[in-house]
């Protein structure tokens, strides 16, 4: 049956299975309720609020595009965008490269694979938690574990988190450290690659590097793409790490002022919920744009095996 015929068949079949539809409806109802009450409704409300001045205590006051005009001249917004873009564009590629590298190593059927996989995955479960952010602050402090490690090699450390020049790097490191979840997805992807391709390549005398670049990587591109999209979205929304490490300030001197942290400060610290709502929509647009670019660019480098 061709796809078109199949579709026609399915369409034709639909009315006959009415009881099933009904059941499906009831099963989906809680999800729909959630979607409308907790997601779409509030989103619509926040869209409205983004055109108002709203201080939480008094009724919102319609101000048209004022909030969006303000974005053009808001220097803290611009610096928070710079911080966030740096964070995303540096940490995501490093994180994915590390995840892929380790996945390839672990895929060689070494003993205790399950153990290593769990160990490497652990940071992904913990990475966004408050406890780890607190730990990070201690580890990278002047008297922290990291500097003690450096001292063993005779290198003098510094207060990594208290210095505006290095504070963001520690947060980037923290994000890279949570490479476990893309790694597990890569591992699953590697298992999908038929062994015969490697066998054929080996027979042709391809080196391990050649086999990686010519077999593994091309066949893995859908997975790389998937991870890339996911991790970029994830990184844009980072909040906890910067909030805890900087004590909610985005400091020192705004060097860790993530976009979502700035949004939070405006909304909850400055009673500026109208502007904060507008910022939330800006973030949505930015993420949507990045995702769209990703999908557009994927035509040129992602190979689907069909």
């Amino acid at each position: 049956m061709t796809a078109a015929a199949e579709l026609r068949h399915l369409k034709g079949a639909a009315p006959k299975s009415k009881p099933q539809n009904k059941a499906a409806f009831w099963f989906l109802l809680p999800w729909f309720l959630g979607l409308f009450a907790v997601t779409l409704g509030p989103m619509a409300a926040s869209l409205y609020l983004s055109f108002t001045k709203y201080n939480l205590l008094q009724p919102p006051e319609f101000t048209g595009l004022a909030n969006f005009e303000r974005m053009l001249t808001d220097e803290r917004l611009h610096s928070s965008l710079a911080v966030t873009f740096t964070y995303v564009l540096v940490s995501v590629p490093i994180q994915l490269a590390l995840a892929l590298g380790l996945a390839v190593l672990l895929d060689r059927g070494i003993r205790g694979l399950a153990f290593y996989r769990s160990v490497f995955y652990l940071p992904s479960l913990l990475g966004a938690s408050v406890a780890i952010a607190v730990l990070w602050r201690t580890v990278f402090g002047t008297d922290g574990l990291f500097n003690e490690g450096l001292a063993l090699f005779g290198v003098e450390g510094r207060g990594w988190i208290s210095d505006p020049e290095t504070a963001l790097s520690t947060l980037i490191t923290l994000n890279v450290w949570t490479f476990g979840s893309p790694m597990v997805i890569f591992l699953a992807g590697l298992r999908q690659i038929p062994v015969m391709y490697y066998e054929a390549a080996a027979v042709d005398g391809a080196s391990p590097l050649r086999r990686f670049t010519s077999v593994t990587l091309p066949l893995l591109t859908p997975i790389v793409f998937f991870n890339l999209v996911l991790q970029i979205i994830h990184a844009f929304q980072s909040f906890t790490q910067a909030f805890i490490v900087s004590g909610g300030t985005g400091g020192p001197t705004d060097s860790t002022l993530f976009f979502s942290l700035y949004l939070y400060q405006r909304g909850f610290g400055n009673f500026d919920m109208g502007y904060a709502s507008a910022l939330a929509w800006l973030l949505l647009v930015i993420i949507a744009a990045f995702t769209a670019i990703n999908f557009w660019a994927s035509k040129y480098w992602v190979h689907y095996d069909d």
Binding site: V38, T39, G41, P42, M43, A44, A45, S46, Y48, L49, K53, Y54, N55, L56, L57, Q58, P59, P60, R137, G141, T142, R158, G159, I161, S162, D163, P164, V229, L230, I233, Q237, F239, G247, G248, T249, G251, P252, T253, D254, S260, L263, G267, F268, G269, N270, F271, D272, M273, A276, S277, A280, W281, L283, L284, I287, T291
Partner: protein, 435 residues
Amino acid sequence: MRPRLTRRTLGKAGLLGAAPAPLLAGCGIGGGGEMVLSDEPVELRIAWWGSDLRAQQTNEAIEAFQKEHPRITVRGEYKEFGAYWDGLATTFAANDAADVVQMDEQYFNSYSDRGALWDLNEAAEFLDLSKIDPELLPTGQVDGAQFALPIGSGVLAFAVNADLFAQYGMELPDDTAWTWDDYADIANELAQRGGGDITGTAITGGVDVGSLRYWSRQHGNELFAENGDVSLDPGLLVEQWEYYAGLIASGAADTAQQMVEDTGAGVEGGRLATGKTAFGLIHNTQITALRSGSGADMRLLQLPQNGTPANFIKPAMYWSVSAGSEHPAEASLLVDFLVNSREAADILGTERGVPANTEILEYLGPQLDESERMAVDYLEAVVTGDPIRVTPNGGSSVNPLITRYGQEVYFGETKPEDAADAFIAELQGEIDATR
């Protein structure tokens, strides 16, 4: 793909919008109950920020109150300072604020201006204000309306580690007549004798609103004008920043990096408490935490005067009754109990600052321990200038602002002149935005 956090963030913002705006603009009282006692059993909520110790004591005081008023049940809610203010804004927006809320000098105008608090003068039948220190009481008023009741007071102080002075063979300065030059000399001397082991002083100015006010008042200037505008002379802020930049450069003071770490460590674990520097800036009542955290011989000294008294008594915190409260009369009774009763004083002590109720302070006198005694003695000895003007609506971000600009200057990222102008412009902008 799952833009999860976005949705949730948006959702949160949206939920707030969906909630009916409970409080009428410009109207002092909206939505809440009347100022009469109910015949029915009443349930109250009271919210505060602070340590576990404070929570324990407050809950104990609440129990004592319930024994006296069996008809009233009180539920306490507490958080740490930052989370408290984030949460308070949202509960007020949802018309779900606690009946009694702990307030701060920097915030209460932001709430009272928006009609979120009761004028406690209307609760005179239930809440006695007559025993409160007349110098403090006006700090909770706006145009005569008592939106917040000061419950304790604090005053800026230098804390010094006398052990370090002894160790390096130095004398404590006479704090009744000293200048900023004296202070700089002592800090330099300490740092030299310390030979790299210690610095003379923490960065005690230019990154917090208290020291900023002190410096400007010393020159006859004020941070805020009568009408709520910023009236700070940028030249004075530049002068203060340059003074401290000099101390940092000479090695007398902590570096900017050390300052940032110090802020994260808190009073009990900071560089002063751990003996890495000899001077720090605190509120007098923090001496208790500092002494217990360090185990060192910590003393309180007045800030250098340069001949002009510039210090000021600051209400450490207030109690307010939220306008949305359904039982404002009972809520006022609770506040009255906490502030005016000896029973509560026995339990609460000076944990919320030196009590603003002068009779209670006298009553507590003999029970104070050594460090509480130090705090009270200091408050009595300190020479103060005129009372400060309260932070206007929109000015609640003044402290984070001065911290950020001060850090930029001390890290050498921004010139003091530019930072001072930008600081004033941004603060004025926040205030204007609420008008």
